[in-house]
């Protein structure tokens, strides 16, 4: 038995580690939620107010597949990602394209309207009940790292987030499609003159944005209850992440999300739990004042 002083140091270190890992894991999930939003914002200069509701729809898709077909979220994320890809593309084709060029506020208000429709549709069809998948493959599993206990479902979601963000980054930087997306983001008219079909790029970007959040939602059902309001705070945090990381930047979104996760976690534990979101939004305000284009903005 170590002397009391060392036991106390060990206890403090264990708490520190736990808070650190909580912040990292939550941050990685935020990064994945924000990645799609960042791309849409960066490429098209459109704020998708329905992003949180896209997340909620992704969670419902995964939940119902799990509930009716007994498919684990470890696999159903493929379906929720595909569903949200189509939904994202359809949103562009049916709503965004018609509102672009009318007024600066038109796409924003259109997506706000869409968010209300989605939320109320789910409220009406699925009731406001909290739905939680039981008996998933990873449910209740934890691993111990140092003195910290990590939830395996959350760890799996974070690992997926890293892989997916790496794929997105690779696609943007190393493929012709990625170059076309970047070119469209920089100057859509010039891109069009160079033979890039910007309409298709916009469609694809909205689809990819939807797929990212759909995959996240699909995975999150392994540890989080789904209900019509579940996306609200996630989307607000995603806006902060995008503003901090820089519009359209995937590494920016990753770094910003980790910063946000850590700020939330450390403030929540070492200052007071009730101010953790206030601290997150204080970071947002600071970024707006000091560096409006974010850490890695295009």
């Amino acid at each position: 038995m170590p002397p009391p002083f060392f036991r106390e140091v060990e206890r403090i270190m264990n708490h520190f580690l736990q808070v650190l890992f909580d912040g990292l894991l939550n941050g990685l999930v935020y990064a994945l939620v924000a990645a799609g939003l960042s791309m849409i914002w960066g490429v098209m200069d459109v704020i998708n107010f329905a992003h949180g509701e896209f997340l909620m729809v992704g969670m419902y898709v995964s939940y119902w597949i799990g509930f009716f077909l007994d498919v684990d979220p470890l696999f159903s994320w493929i379906a929720s990602g595909a569903f949200l890809f189509i939904m994202g593309a359809a949103t562009y084709r049916l709503i965004i394209r018609n509102s672009l060029g009318k007024s600066a506020m038109a796409p924003l208000l259109a997506t706000f309207g869409l968010s209300m429709v989605l939320k109320n549709f789910c409220m009406n069809r699925f009731t406001p009940n909290f739905r939680l998948l039981s008996g998933t493959v990873l449910e209740g599993k934890t691993i111990s790292v140092g003195g910290a206990i990590l939830s395996v479902p959350q760890l799996a979601t974070a690992a997926f987030a890293l892989v997916l963000l790496a794929c997105l980054y690779w696609m943007l930087k190393r493929t012709r499609l990625g170059w076309a997306i970047q070119a469209t983001a920089m100057d859509s008219e010039a891109a069009e003159l160079m033979g890039i079909r910007t309409e298709n790029i916009y469609l694809l970007v909205f689809g990819i944005g939807g797929a990212c959040v759909g995959i996240t939602g699909g995975l999150m059902t392994s540890y989080l209850a789904v209900y019509p309001e579940v996306g609200s705070l996630f989307s607000l945090i995603a806006f902060v992440v995008v503003a901090l990381g820089g519009f359209g930047s995937i590494p920016g979104a990753l770094l910003a999300a980790i910063i946000i996760g850590l700020v939330e976690s450390f403030t929540g534990f070492y200052v007071a739990a009730v101010v953790k979101y206030a601290a997150v939004f204080a970071v947002y305000l600071a970024v707006i004042l000091i560096r409006p284009k974010g850490l890695f903005g295009w």
Binding site: H15, P128, N129, T267, A272
Partner: protein, 419 residues
């Protein structure tokens, strides 16, 4: 030409008759506002409360045999007046609750409003009623502050957080004295709202009275994306007992996060929260087991002490809500039945007369645990009773007080890895 004139006259007469008919039909209706959080973070509970009020309205409006419940056997009120429920949604937001209450009284012309579940919403909505000298009946909001305002038109059925907190500490004293539980420290986790803050304040006051040391005080924002830091704070302080005040999704997130960090106190007792909601417990499956909470209704309790509530549940509530009553929702139905009795006793739709009767008389209430309802000045139901239950296998077993007890408590809570 004549035919045209005749046709027009007939049309006008028919129209006038139709309108008169509508007017007559409207005259035979008593509009009651049902103001609840039908959307937003508390929507599950709000929908349950609304369904409960609708069930009570159905019971009043029809004539039903075999129910030993006032107003069930006769059709409507005052010899044929039907109760019409006007729904309103405050989304859990105090400002919306205020404007919706104004709309209900001023535009819809409701005779009274029943609501509003969230204490934070009930407070401004009932202030509107008080200013307009209209009745506001509250079933479940538990903030003690609501009945400390000396309002004349506000009546509340639920036991306050102060009553519940004292009951919790009485139970801890009982466990310490009779079972040698050794509970010395307390942690509080609560949503940072009117309800949560008052519940926590009352919890602290009651704890101080029995010398329970508060070692963790953790408010959180409702609808949070995670409760990692909150639970970590509790775990670091490692209190023997925890008082919780978390609604719906936050409650399930709290329980799941405690499981994730593999920590539990010796006992966790909840104010009226997600604990009471059977739908939330169903989703939590076994993870919700061994938690405790104050309740004034559970199917198990009702079997012995409130059999009429089960009958009403089966006939009227279940078809609407597809689930059993919970403590909160049932109390909203009780308030409509109490209002109905007061209107009957008044013999007319006079707000002042009905208010006087509500304030002075005792009402028979087979859907209440005590069987009666009576209000003291300020509007608190002095007959309010609640018991402490512990959930196991989706059954709420009553463990305290002795009079209502139907099971022994499982103490301390079974650890996560031994379930």
């Amino acid at each position: 030409m004549l035919r045209k004139i005749a046709f027009t006259v007939v049309l006008c007469v028919l129209g006038a008759l139709l309108l008169t008919g509508v007017a007559v039909a409207e005259d035979k209706v008593i509009k009651i506002g049902a103001l609840f959080p039908l959307t937003g973070p508390s929507a599950v509970s709000g929908q349950n409360c609304l369904n409960s009020v609708l069930a009570a309205a159905e019971l009043i409006n029809g004539a039903y045999e075999g129910f030993d419940v006032p107003l069930a056997a006769t059709e409507g009120l005052l010899g044929g007046y039907k109760v019409e429920i006007i729904k309103a949604d405050h989304q859990g937001k105090p400002d919306v609750a205020k404007s919706e209450a104004e709309r209900l009284y001023n535009q819809e012309g409701v005779f009274a409003v029943i609501g509003s579940y969230n204490s934070a919403a009930t407070k401004p909505a009932s202030a509107v009623a008080e200013r307009a000298k209209k009745l506001f009946l509250c079933g479940a909001s538990s903030s003690a502050a609501l009945t400390e305002r000396e309002y004349k038109y506000f009546f509340r059925h639920a036991p306050t957080d102060a009553i519940e907190a004292t009951e919790f500490t009485d139970y801890i004293t009982y466990l310490n004295e009779k079972k040698g539980a050794g509970i010395k420290t307390l942690g509080l986790i609560y949503e940072n709202t009117e309800f949560g803050k008052h519940a926590a304040d009352e919890g602290k006051k009651a704890a101080a009275k029995i010398g329970l040391e508060v070692v963790a005080d953790v408010p959180f924002n409702n609808g949070a994306t995670n409760l990692s830091s909150e639970v970590q704070t509790l775990k670091a302080a490692n209190p023997d007992a925890v008082f919780g005040a978390a609604l719906g999704g936050d409650y399930s997130l709290w329980v799941r996060t405690m499981k994730q960090v593999n920590w539990l106190p010796k006992i966790a007792i909840n104010f009226c929260t997600g604990y009471q909601n059977p739908a939330v417990q169903k989703e939590l499956a076994g993870d919700g087991d061994y938690f405790m909470g104050g309740m004034s209704f559970s199917p198990e309790l009702a079997k012995e002490f409130m059999p009429e509530a089960l009958k009403v549940q089966e006939k009227f509530y279940f078809p609407l809500a597809n689930q059993e009553f919970d403590s909160d929702s049932l109390q909203e139905a009780v308030m409509l039945l109490v209002l109905g009795q007061a209107i009957e006793k008044a013999g007319e739709l006079d707000t002042e007369k009905v208010r006087e009767i509500l304030a002075t008389e005792t009402f028979v209430s087979p859907l209440s645990l005590s069987g009666e309802v009576a209000f003291e000045p300020g509007g608190q139901n002095i007959k309010a009773l609640s018991v402490i239950t512990q959930i196991k296998d989706l059954k709420y077993n009553t463990i305290y007080p002795e009079k209502f007890k139907n099971a022994e408590p499982v103490y301390p809570m079974a650890p996560w890895d031994n379930r």
